[in-house]
């Protein structure tokens, strides 16, 4: 008899297990919450569209050598500035006869590299500063938050420009400069989260067991801050792309002959009157990718942050 009562449960489909109103374990509850969010997210066509583009971008970046029709650096001066479609250049060729499509494909690696580096580093810096300030409080809190405010008060792009010129132009330095200018909001978020958590009962309980501040922050506070940081990062990614492209455009980001999109626009600018495609194609690429990030971020916010939901 007892077997009978168990059987129907085992036959639960994955969908049913995930959407159950009565989760059997904490793990199931958490996974189930994620799954519901995913269902809500999936019903948002614009957000799904964004996600699709980004998955495609990652795929393109991963398999760039297989997908690109040519090397991004091979020059053919005889076929310079070929219009799209002519001579096998699907999106045309640039001033040195390099295939623009291939350069865009390889350039996606640079874009993804910059975005992921910044998206990893800036929130981590913010997390360190914010949780330390929030949990430890006192003078440390005041000092750290004052510093945060100072950085927050700076015009971002100009600060990044100044940093890059101090450090020297290049991708790594562009990443560093963007990180240095974009961590403060994360610090604020992390601090706010920490303040709400730090007086929770379970933290007191852990304290009584003799856990130190470091252990509490890293083991118990950090995990709880992650989700709000993730939302914020997703929303910021389009901005990161645009800043990086702007630096490249001004000649302070990736250096030639690297196929960075912003630098490609800058190079194509010289030929814009007669050879529109050289500058237009990378511009479209930047636009599409940053739009995708924005759509994804907008959708994620609707799902994960119901308070600010726009529906």
């Amino acid at each position: 008899m007892s077997m009978d009562t168990e059987l129907p449960q085992k036959r639960l489909t994955l969908h049913e297990w995930l959407t159950t109103e009565t989760p059997a374990s904490r793990r199931q509850a958490r996974v189930s919450a994620w799954y519901r969010s995913w269902l809500a997210f999936r019903s948002n066509p614009m957000a799904m569209f964004g996600l699709g583009i980004l998955l495609a971008l990652i795929f393109i970046a991963l398999f760039a050598p297989l997908l690109a029709p040519q090397s991004p650096f091979t020059q053919d001066l005889g076929a310079r500035l070929s219009p799209p479609g002519k001579g096998g250049y699907i999106l045309g060729s640039d001033s040195l006869g390099r295939d623009i499509l291939s350069r865009l494909i390889y350039g996606s690696r640079i874009t993804l590299y910059i975005v992921s580096m910044v998206a990893l580093m800036a929130p981590i810096v913010g997390l360190f500063v914010g949780t330390a300030a929030g949990y430890l409080g006192g003078w440390l809190d005041i000092t750290l938050m004052r510093i945060t405010d100072i950085f927050l008060a700076f015009p971002k792009l100009i600060l990044a420009l100044a940093f890059v010129s101090a450090l020297g132009a290049g991708i790594e330095n562009a990443v560093l400069a963007i990180v240095l200018t974009s961590w403060p909001p994360y610090a604020r978020i992390a601090r706010a989260e920490t303040l709400t958590i730090r007086n929770a009962d379970f933290i007191h309980a852990i304290k009584l067991q003799g856990a130190g501040a470091l252990r509490i922050i890293t083991r118990h506070i950090w995990p709880l801050c992650i989700s709000s940081l993730v939302i914020r990062v997703t929303l910021d990614m389009a901005g990161i792309i645009l800043t990086a492209a702007g630096l490249g455009f001004l000649g302070l980001g990736a250096q030639p002959p690297s196929p960075e999109w912003g630098a490609m626009i800058s190079a194509g600018r010289k030929f814009i009157l007669d050879h529109w495609w050289v500058a237009t194609m990378p511009g479209l690429a930047i636009f599409i990718v940053s739009l995708a990030f924005n759509l994804l971020g907008d959708g994620l916010r609707d799902v994960l942050d119901p308070k600010k939901s726009s529906k």
Partner: protein
Amino acid sequence: MVTQNTTGKGWLKLSIPSWISGCGSVIFTVLITMVGLLFVTFIIGRVMPIDPVLSIVGESASRATYEAAYQELGLDKPLLVQFFIFLRDIAQGNFGESLLTARPVSQDLLRVFPATMELATMGTIVGVLLGVPLGVIAAVKRGSWIDHIARVVALVGYSMPVFWIGLIGLLILYGKLGWVGGPGRLDIFYVDIIPRVTGMILVDSLLAGDMVVFRNAISHIVLPAGLLAYYSLAYISRMTRSFMLEQLDQEYIITARVKGLSESAVIWRHAFGNVKVPLVTVIALSYAALLEGSVLTETIFSWPGIGSYITTALLSADMNAVLGGTVVVGLVFVCLNIFSDLLYKFFDPRAR
């Protein structure tokens, strides 16, 4: 700073002591932030891989000339002392001399800043005029097609690389169609015929009563300001919408509706009346963002403002100019931030 109270329940209620203490702490915050900002700028200037002495005396200078200039710049003193000298100079409006223009940076900044301000102001005005109504309508007609369109408009605005769309816009609207003026603030032959009063050509030409120049200036500013306006519109319309949504859910709105007030009175007088204050702070922030956004816009449109001043200086390693420009934009930024903070503190009941 504190403008007239439009919300009906305002700052008059504030008890005087808290107002004063609030002011004191605000001034303290401002000072700390500004000094911090100057310190960061100072450090950037010091870690620059460029030898400031060499750029003054030239490569062929003798050891003695070099040493003299080194001491004159105070580079032999401790870093902190140098910082105080830097602060003192800035307090006196002395940013040093620009290598590129061979003029005092402060003089250069006075020349270029009005151009940027003109651009950002026009952009903000248009952004507000379009963005606020769009946000209100999107909130009122939540979920309708107009709401969706507003959302798409905003997202596209957030995603557009300004230097690219500016280039394309210039090519099509000026190059192909001739609908707008070209790069620069005026057709070149109108340059310098209007006496300079504020440095903002739109204002100066009106003051001089010269409509020809005014129209020419408008035709030049339309495109760059329009682009900046699009950004500001995207931001302002989204924020307006969310503020309005919050208000429209409140009970007093329902009460007003029940009382039989007309829909437009409910929306504009009651709901919108209450979002004005946060909206002003949003506008202040977006204005600050436009000042910064001008860096790339100005490059495209050959607009002789502070953005192109800083970038040109950067590319030619003209450190005094870079630092001076950064400090000025930073200070304006801080002021706008603090202004919006203050507004919020004084008017928002929750923050008080």
